[in-house]
Each structure stands twice: as structure tokens, then as C-alpha cells.
């Protein structure tokens, strides 16, 4: 196959391969440009810690899943390829969940909500379908890492603003002072914006990020018809 020949000549970290990791961070970001994975970005970004945990879990599942699908790409019958992809992602998620529950039960407890959400993450099925089914395992691995990092980057940015403005905290630490005892910023009349903790503000924050990105890079703006 054509892609096999290419990798034989190509060094592991060729410019093209590195592009697989770099592009999804900015100009081909799965959330802001491809508009995938929005659901989980809205659901779990009320806290920065949850955003980071979700980003790392998705990175593991997407990178491993991409490799498995890529290894199986020549034997998966096209009629049931979506089911095969779903089985792979569900199996990976269950294995991650069981391993965490056995070895790090406290972390598993915090992850439990998000681990379930990974199965429904559109980015994972999207990357399996669009990339892993037609590329070598190494490229698919890089593509998985890149896309998960691009997804995680947006999650962390949204989570940062929502937790900071919504509860005055970052990673659970009170960075703007104590709202009950009215210390620091709260002593001069600052109030937390509780609206930031609700899902609509996640959508608005995301919209602002998309707007900002497109104002900096005009090539991302679709032509109006």
C-alpha cells in the first residue's frame, strides 16, 4: 500500500508526522475548527481539574484506539466498521476503568463520570473513521495524540475561565480570596459569576474562543453563500 512505502523512507519525526501532532492544536483544532466533541467540552469544564483529567483520559483512549484500528484497517469489513470501532473504544474505556479501580481507586472515583463520557466523544469515532482506517499505526498514534491535545487545550482554556470567574478558584484553590470571609478581591466588592458554572456559559466561552481564533486567522472563516 502507498502509505506503507512512504513510512519506510520517512523518519519517525518527519515534518509531516510532526504536523499530525501540531495541526490539531491550532488550525485544525477538533473543537474550534472541526466542531467535534462539543458535548463533553460543555459538560465537564466547570472545574479545571476535571478538564485536565478528561483531556488525559481521552488522549490515552484516542491514541491507543487509533493504533488498534490502524492495525486492523485491512481486515475490518466495511459493512460493520462503525460497530468494530465502537467495540474497540468501549473495550479500551472499560479496561482503563477497571485498571484505575483496582490500582488507584480514589482517582477512579473522580474519573468515573468522565470515563463514561469518553465513549460518546465524537472526536474518537471521527478520528478512527477519518484517519486510522487509512493510515499506518505510527501516524495514527501521532494523530491521536495531536487531536486529543488539541481537544484538551480547549477544555483547559474553557475550564480555566469557568472555574476562575465562576467560583474564584483554580484546581480547587481559592485564588481570588475567600467569598464567605470577604478577603482580597471580594473585600472590594467582587462577586463570583455563578452563571459561569452553568452549561450555557461554556458554550459562550467556546464561541468567544472560536471568534478570537478566526479573527487571528482569516483563512478559517468560511465563505458566506
Amino acid at each position: 500500500m502507498a502509505d506503507n512505502k512512504q513510512t519506510e523512507k520517512e523518519p519517525l519525526f518527519s515534518k509531516k508526522n510532526l504536523g499530525l501532532v501540531k495541526d490539531p492544536l491550532t488550525d485544525n483544532n477538533p473543537i474550534t475548527v472541526q466542531v467535534l466533541g462539543i458535548c463533553s467540552a460543555l459538560a465537564i469544564t466547570a472545574e479545571l481539574k476535571a478538564s485536565v483529567i478528561m483531556a488525559l483520559s481521552v488522549m490515552f483512549v484516542l491514541a491507543m484506539g487509533n493504533v488498534v484500528i490502524s492495525l486492523m484497517r485491512n481486515i475490518i469489513p466495511s459493512a460493520i466498521r462503525i460497530i468494530a470501532q465502537l467495540v474497540v473504544v468501549a473495550a479500551l474505556v472499560i479496561i482503563v476503568d477497571l485498571t484505575l479501580k483496582a490500582y488507584v481507586p480514589d482517582l477512579a472515583k473522580k474519573l468515573s463520570v468522565f470515563v463514561g463520557l469518553i465513549i460518546t466523544n465524537c472526536i474518537i469515532m471521527g478520528r478512527f473513521e477519518a484517519f486510522a482506517l487509512g493510515n499506518t499505526p505510527w501516524k495514527s498514534f501521532l494523530d491521536g495524540i495531536g487531536n486529543a491535545a488539541g481537544y484538551g487545550l480547549i477544555l483547559v482554556v474553557v475550564g480555566f475561565f469557568r472555574e476562575l470567574l465562576g467560583s474564584g478558584k483554580l484546581f480547587g484553590y481559592e485564588v481570588l480570596g475567600n467569598p464567605v470571609e470577604k478577603t482580597w478581591l471580594y473585600s472590594i466588592g467582587y462577586e463570583n459569576n455563578g452563571f459561569m458554572l452553568l452549561a450555557p456559559m461554556a458554550l459562550i466561552t467556546l464561541g468567544l474562543i472560536i471568534g478570537f481564533q478566526r479573527s487571528r486567522n482569516k483563512s478559517l472563516i468560511e465563505e458566506t453563500h
Partner: protein, 241 residues
């Protein structure tokens, strides 16, 4: 494009069967290999949660030892009868609730703890939040009328909103709160949105301050407390006599 070998019906069916068998065996192997550790982790977690409700800080490493130290007796309550049972903490509250719905008598675990010379009675509670189950333990003072401390946990409440029931700023509000009103009627503790007492200084109003944006989870907690503690009232009556 010529039809590929992988497109035939026979191949598709065989592939599906092989995939299911391989993935199924793999998952069964993983589940079995980790079962013992998971069951043990759950036991330790239960002990930790019970200790947490009575305000003892334990870690996973010393939970079993601390549990033996602080929990003096464990009972299984059925109606107004209680029998001592050293493994009452292993009773599955969820299964017992389902059994009660099917018409059987519900086995209610009760833990008698002692801290700083004071006796506390700890009861498990379980109910529904917004998305999924919520549960916890309530430690009652030895007057059996006021709360010594609570522990709450949840399966899938929204992070930053309903999930905050596990945070100490919420749980601490329950300390000292009465579960009976001034006339002696059983009210448990309500979660109030329009509480004129946000710092929770009034312990006799049967109310604690709600969490903004988590109305349904809060209502779930209140309903869970009312029902959960209520189940023990017949037995508590016999204790008071």
C-alpha cells in the same frame, strides 16, 4: 473498484464473531484479574466513609485499623429489633432497598461509634440525585435528635454544581442541625434556597443552605435524609426508653 475479500457476507459474520469472542475474553480476563483488589478497595472505602461521617480523618492505609478503634458495635436493625453483627458494614444498602420494594423486611445497618468520649450512631442513607444515585452516612449524637456529622457521595452529579455535596463547605452545615422541629415532629433536614440563615447559625430550623445551580441534587439529598433516617426511628424510640 473490485469487491474486496473483506466485503463478503461470510467474512463479515466471521469477523464479528471473532471480534466479540476476543474482546469479550479480554474484558472478562481483566475483570477477573482485578476483582479481588476492587472488592477490597470497596470495603476499605465503606469503612473510610463511615469514619468520615463521624469526623475521623483516616487514610486508605489505616482505615481498617481506625475502624476497629472507633466503631464499637455494629448492628443489623429490622423494625424495632437489632442484632449485633460484626460485618454489618458489608450490607449492600441498595440491594436492601430493592428488597424492601419487593415487600421483604429491610436489613438496616447501624454503627455505634465513640469519639472523644461521646457516643454517635451512624446510619447509611441512599437516594437519587439529578443524574444518578447519591448516598452517604449520617452520624447522630447520642440524643438521637441532632446531627454529629455527615458524609455524602454521588455517582454522576455535575462537577462544580451537584457534585459539591461531597465538599466540606456543604457537609459542615449539617453539624448540630436538629432533625426534629420544636414540636417534636420528625422533619430531617431540608435544603433551602431562600434560607435567611446562610451561615447556618440557627440549628433548630431544620434547614441548611442550598448549593446554587444544584436544586435537584439538593432536593435529592433532603429526600434521602428524610427517608433514610426515618427508617431507623422505630428502633430509636426503643433506645430512648
Amino acid at each position: 473498484m473490485s469487491t474486496k475479500r473483506t466485503d463478503s457476507n461470510g467474512y463479515t459474520i466471521i469477523f464479528a464473531i471473532v471480534m466479540v469472542v476476543v474482546v469479550g475474553s479480554l474484558l472478562a480476563f481483566f475483570a477477573n484479574a482485578t476483582k479481588e483488589m476492587r472488592v477490597n478497595n470497596d470495603k476499605v472505602k465503606t469503612q473510610l466513609d463511615i469514619l468520615n461521617a463521624m469526623g475521623v480523618d483516616a487514610t486508605r492505609a489505616n482505615a481498617t485499623e481506625m475502624f476497629g478503634q472507633y466503631i464499637k458495635q455494629q448492628y443489623v436493625v429490622e423494625g424495632t429489633e437489632a442484632t449485633e453483627n460484626s460485618e454489618a458494614y458489608l450490607i449492600d444498602v441498595k440491594k436492601e432497598q430493592e428488597a424492601a420494594k419487593a415487600g421483604k423486611t429491610q436489613k438496616l445497618p447501624l454503627f455505634v461509634g465513640e469519639k472523644d468520649g461521646k457516643t454517635v450512631y451512624i446510619v447509611p442513607v441512599r437516594g437519587n440525585g439529578l443524574w444518578d444515585a447519591i448516598w452517604g452516612y449520617v452520624a447522630l449524637n447520642d440524643d438521637l435528635k441532632s446531627i454529629n456529622g455527615v458524609y455524602f457521595d454521588h455517582k454522576g452529579e455535575t462537577p462544580g454544581l451537584g457534585a459539591n455535596i461531597t465538599e466540606s463547605f456543604f457537609k459542615d452545615d449539617f453539624k448540630g442541625e436538629m432533625i426534629f422541629d420544636a414540636e417534636g415532629n420528625y422533619k430531617a433536614v431540608e435544603i433551602s434556597k431562600s434560607n435567611g440563615d446562610p451561615n447556618n447559625e440557627d440549628k433548630t430550623d431544620n434547614q441548611v443552605d442550598a448549593i446554587s445551580g444544584a436544586t435537584i441534587t439538593g432536593n435529592g439529598v433532603a429526600a434521602m435524609l428524610k427517608k433514610g433516617i426515618g427508617l431507623y426511628l422505630p428502633y430509636f424510640e426503643t433506645l430512648k426508653k
